[in-house]
Point group: C2
Amino acid sequence: MIYAHILFGLENTLYDADLQLSMARMNAVKAMIAEGLPLNHESLYMMLEQIVKEYGVHFPKHFDILVERLGVKYSPRIIAAGVLAYRETSNVYLKPYPDVQSTLLALRDRGIKLYLITSGPPVKQWQKILSLNLGHIFHDVFIEERSDIMGGPSKDFLKNVLDQLSVNRNSILAVSGLENEINVFKESSIPTVLVMRGASKYSAEKAKHAATYVVESLDKILKIV
Amino acid sequence: MIYAHILFGLENTLYDADLQLSMARMNAVKAMIAEGLPLNHESLYMMLEQIVKEYGVHFPKHFDILVERLGVKYSPRIIAAGVLAYRETSNVYLKPYPDVQSTLLALRDRGIKLYLITSGPPVKQWQKILSLNLGHIFHDVFIEERSDIMGGPSKDFLKNVLDQLSVNRNSILAVSGLENEINVFKESSIPTVLVMRGASKYSAEKAKHAATYVVESLDKILKIV
């Protein structure tokens, strides 16, 4: 066995976070249009993306800003319609990729230790992990408390986790579907697996030469370890 | 036609809010126990009820306080489990009583104007109304912005609504399943219908003589108007 410890990213690695977010936003703007917002859904979607970029992904009042920016009178009804559609759609798409559970169990059966490493508000990240039904499958979960970004630990946090694990770095493999996450692992000289799927696939293409291994689906890592 | 305008309460009138809240809290503490909280679910449920009473129903961190009060180390995992179970259970029980839609449509068909009057954070109240699929059925919705209590407008807010409606008070009927709501309507000299159902039925019993009419189910108001 070459790799006795595997660190997994969460978003775009274990589930399709890009698809989840874009579908949730699209259904939210459609629901808000049905309750009276002007403009077409493509334009509103683009405005919403812009607001998320400006205020950060964890800001709780994106829809309020959207309504305000359109010059529409404050309407709790329109905002509530957006929130509801967003939540319902998010839940529908918060499902692990179909090969996640079987791959993780197969790795555990081989005696490999499995870790999840992610960043965001801890309670929210745990809501994702528990909704995905992955709460018990990892030997440990490391969450960096951050409110500014989604996905990917900082270099310092990763260093801290590696210190806690206290094992030979060559026995650690890091698996992620996010380009920035792969880069953080690479900076810490950990062999990486880039999972090439999800909506961000093409931007990840650039990072292809940065990863030690590139796979099309998670179950392919069974042939690597 | 005696009553041309009907004001409806929301909680315990159009859906069973007491049942929804108690089921959501019970499933939340059970999920938190499964993730490591000590004590049995009856004791935790009672502690949670006490915290809700102290901090108000709209306070966003009841579970954090519960974990703290138990002397358990802060755990985003345990809190996330509680939040998830609470939300899922709430959604399941956020359904109108079976006779609500048909009764409201029958009243509309008779040319009666239907109004909803409630209090709470407006976006949250609208989320309930839209989830219940009652967004389009009322001719107007009046929400008093309050963060301290659940259900029931203040006397001042009701007066304001009545001024806006600007109709003869004898042509208005108020329908509610909440004792405090019935009392507010009564103070404004509006004929009232107390709907005797839901978990708070027995405390409402006391208010029986206060209401102009008492019915066992919403569809019975078709015989009153």
